[in-house]
Symmetry: C2
Amino acid sequence: MPHKTDHLAKKLGTFMQLSEQETECLAALQRSAISLKAGKELVHEGQTGHLAYILQSGWVCSFKLLPDGGRQIIAFPLPGDCVGLRSVLLRTSDHSFSALTDVVVSSVEASRMMEVFNEFPRLGAAILWAASRDEAMVVEHLVSIGRRTAIERTAHFFLELSERLRLVGLADDKEFACPLNQYVLADALGLSAIHVNRVLRQLRERKLLTLKERMVTVHDMRKLKALAGFQEQ
Amino acid sequence: MPHKTDHLAKKLGTFMQLSEQETECLAALQRSAISLKAGKELVHEGQTGHLAYILQSGWVCSFKLLPDGGRQIIAFPLPGDCVGLRSVLLRTSDHSFSALTDVVVSSVEASRMMEVFNEFPRLGAAILWAASRDEAMVVEHLVSIGRRTAIERTAHFFLELSERLRLVGLADDKEFACPLNQYVLADALGLSAIHVNRVLRQLRERKLLTLKERMVTVHDMRKLKALAGFQEQ
DNA sequence: CGACGCTTTGACACAACTCAACAACCGTGG
DNA sequence: CCACGGTTGTTGAGTTGTGTCAAAGCGTCG
C-alpha cells in the first residue's frame, strides 16, 4: 500500500536508516488489513499466541483482568505499534487487547516474525528497540501509579498521550481527539471511575485541561507539566 | 569460567537449545567481573548508556526518582538478568540501578551487543525473549500497584520473588534469604515504609508469611496464594 | 417515547499516609 | 567497658485521599 503512511517504518526509521529491502519487508508484513468493530477483543489471556498484530488505525488498549473482576489497563498502543508481540515470544499470551474504537490491524504469524529476525538481523534489533521504547512507557506508567497522586497521575497521562499523538500527527499543540471514557481512564490510572470524574473536574476548575465530547484541550501547558512533574525526553 | 554456573545461558537455554558457539559467545560476554559495594549506583538516569551489565551475584534494584524526591522501584534483577539493556538500545538511560548488597556484574559494551545481534541472530531473538519476560514482570507489578490492596500486593510480591529465586536455586519451598528492608519494600510496592510494617504484621498475625532477620518464611502457601490472587504460569 | 451509556454530584466509609515517639540492634570510638 | 549515633523496626493518634453507594442529569439512538 504505497499510498498510505507506513507508521511502523516511520517509527523504526527514527532508530536507524532502513534499506530498501528492509522497508519492503516491513511493507510485506503489513499487507493484510483486518477490520475490527469497537468492543472486540484481539487476544485472550492464557491463550497460546501465534499471531502478533500491527495497529494501522483506531484506538486499542492492552489490559489484564484480576480474579475479582478488576481490570488494569497497561497501555494504549497507537498506529504503527505492535500488539501482542510478547505473546509470540513467550509463546503464551499474558494479556488481552480490546478495541476501543473501530480499528484496522495487520496480523503477523509468529513463524514469519522469526524468519524476519534471521533474514534481517538489523530489523530484529530495530524491533527490539521499539519494544524497549514501549517498555519504557510501561515503566513510566508504573511510576505514576506507584508514586504520584491521582491528579498528578492523570495530568501526566494526558501529557504523555499528547506527545505520542503529536509524533504521529494526531494532535496539535493545544488539543487532540481522545475517545477514552471515564471508566477506561479509571482502569488505566488505577482509580475508580468516580474519582476520575472528580480529578477531571479539578483539572477543569484549575484551568489546566478539559476533556469534553471526546476532545482533550490543554489550557496551560506549563502549569500542567509542573503539576505532573513531566520530563521531556 | 567453566567452574561457575552461567545463569544467563541457563535462562536462555529454557527458550531454545543453544549451540556450542552461542554458549561460548555468551561466556565471552561475561568474562569481565566487576565487584560493587552495597549502596553503589550502577547507572545514572539521563546519562548516556554505553554499557549494559549482566548480574552475576548479589541483589540490585532498578528505580526511577521523582522531582519531589520520591522513588519507585521497578524491579529486582536476579543473577543472570541483564541490567541496563534498555539504556543501550534507547541510547539514553531511563532509570538508575542501586546495589542492595555487595554484587558482582559483567559489563558489556553497546557496540559489542549489536555485533552479537548481527553475528548470532538466534541469540538476538533469545535476548529479546528474555527482555519480554522481564517486561511481563513489570506488567504484573503494574497490575499489583494499580488494582491490588496493600496486603494482596505484598503477598503477591513475595510469591513472585519466591518463584524466581527457586528457578535459580536460591529458595526452597518454605523460605529464602531476602535482604530487602521495609524502606526498600515500600518503594517497590508504592506504599509508605510504616504501612509496609503494618502489612507485614498482618501477614505474620494471620500466619501466612514472616520476614525476620533478612529471611522470608512462608507458613501457608495455599492461603497466601489465595489472598494474593496468585496465578502460576 | 423509553432505554441505554456516560457523566456528575453528595454523603459516608475506609485504606493508607503523616507525624511523633520509642525500642532493638549494630559498630565505633572514647 | 560503656556511651554513642545510625539504621531498622514497631506502635499509636489523627488526617487525608480515594473508594463505595446511591441517585439524578443528559445525550443519543432505536
